[in-house]
Symmetry: C2
Subunit: 199 residues, 2 copies
DNA sequence: TCCCCAGGTTAACGACCGCTAACCTCCCTG
DNA sequence: CAGGGAGGTTAGCGGTCGTTAACCTGGGGA
């Protein structure tokens, strides 16, 4: 992945602020004027960059799901075959945690505002999400073959709930920083999977 | 707890449907006409029972937080002293799972629409939530004394995330029914706590 | 130098939404 | 058997919001 050193485009600024505001107050709770104000322009100026408010949300959600999926696919390619399934799962967990810690507003939107999308966009996002889940399920069942598929899928969803709890850990000074939080979440996720298999 | 055999009042009908709709489409995404239609009356008829749309959300959120807290306090009284801390934690987990499985819309609202409340109501709800968390933290630290308090609190929040994932397990036929789901979640929660303590 | 377009601005429209007003209609009670 | 309140109804007001229209402006090529 090539590092971004250039300044963010106006579009990117808008998306970032829109994500923050949508996460804070909900899609319907934010007006276009507020989004504009957050990037220093006013309401209708946004329409030079996006077809409408819906389009911003759609681009955000498709972007999230897409990046989660492609990131996971990449990690799987890199690790599979050359590593034990344990290591592959660790890599998936690590990737999800990185995302949850670095893009909290997006994590929040991701399972909160999906139903506000137009049919076609919603189906696309759901498909990406489903692929992401199935990818996890495969890896989990490779590591714990005794786990029935529906149980594995439920376990994966529950671990997502655990990892996505980062927005609630916002109280500052509560933990030894990002690294400590990431390590704690990682251990807990592994422990949850372990416990899912025992009778 | 005395069983309710009498029919639900109109107020209760309204609250139930409002919870469902708010959870599905967000507070701002639901109109009073829709809430009315869901209980067979039309829009402004709701104002015979509630001061306004905000009041419905407030009553829902205060009710949720209150019931969670009082339920936990009751379970703690019943179990504490006479049981090992392990059993007390199990009882807390069981209570939370029951709630998450039986009132999914409320669980969804509970961490999603809090910011839509008037200042005074929001403070009340937050206070109830905080007491509930602290109660868990105490029990967890009783069972795992080597766990530092901030770490224990983060772990509790994360386990809440895990247990509250039930709305995402909606796909029917995915699990062996309610009992199986409850048992799986319970084991995973315990496993997550176990893993939080190891170095 | 001229012009054009990317990227802004403000004004305003139409739709929607929360809420109130005014009115109606049972049913329960004195 | 009157009457009054509980619990509805419809009409409509006022405000907000997403979006469009019309206009402006500065800077980079032909």
């Amino acid at each position: 992945m090539t590092a971004r050193t250039d300044a963010p485009t106006r579009r990117e600024q808008i998306l970032k602020e829109a994500a923050r505001l949508f996460a804070e107050r909900g899609f319907h709770g934010v007006g276009v004027d507020e989004i504009g104000a957050a990037v220093g322009i006013s309401g209708p100026g946004l329409y030079r960059h996006f077809a409408g408010k819906d389009a911003m949300l759609a681009e955000l959600l498709v972007g999230i799901s897409g990046r989660l999926l492609t990131g996971a696919k990449r990690r799987l390619e890199e690790a599979r075959g050359v590593s034990a399934p344990e290591v592959v799962l660790d890599s998936l967990i690590e990737g999800h945690i990185d995302f949850a810690l670095d893009d909290r507003p997006l994590i929040t939107l991701h399972d909160r505002e999906l139903d506000r999308l137009r049919d076609t966009d919603r189906k696309l996002v759901r498909q990406l999400q489903r692929q992401y889940v199935e990818l996890w399920v495969e890896v989990v069942r490779e590591l714990y073959p005794q786990l029935a598929e529906p149980v594995a899928r439920s376990a994966v969803h529950s671990v997502f709930g655990l990892l996505n709890s980062t927005p609630h850990l916002t109280r500052p000074g509560s933990l030894p920083g990002r690294a400590g939080t990431a390590e704690l979440l990682h251990r807990m996720a592994r422990g949850a999977f372990e416990a899912a298999v025992s009778p």
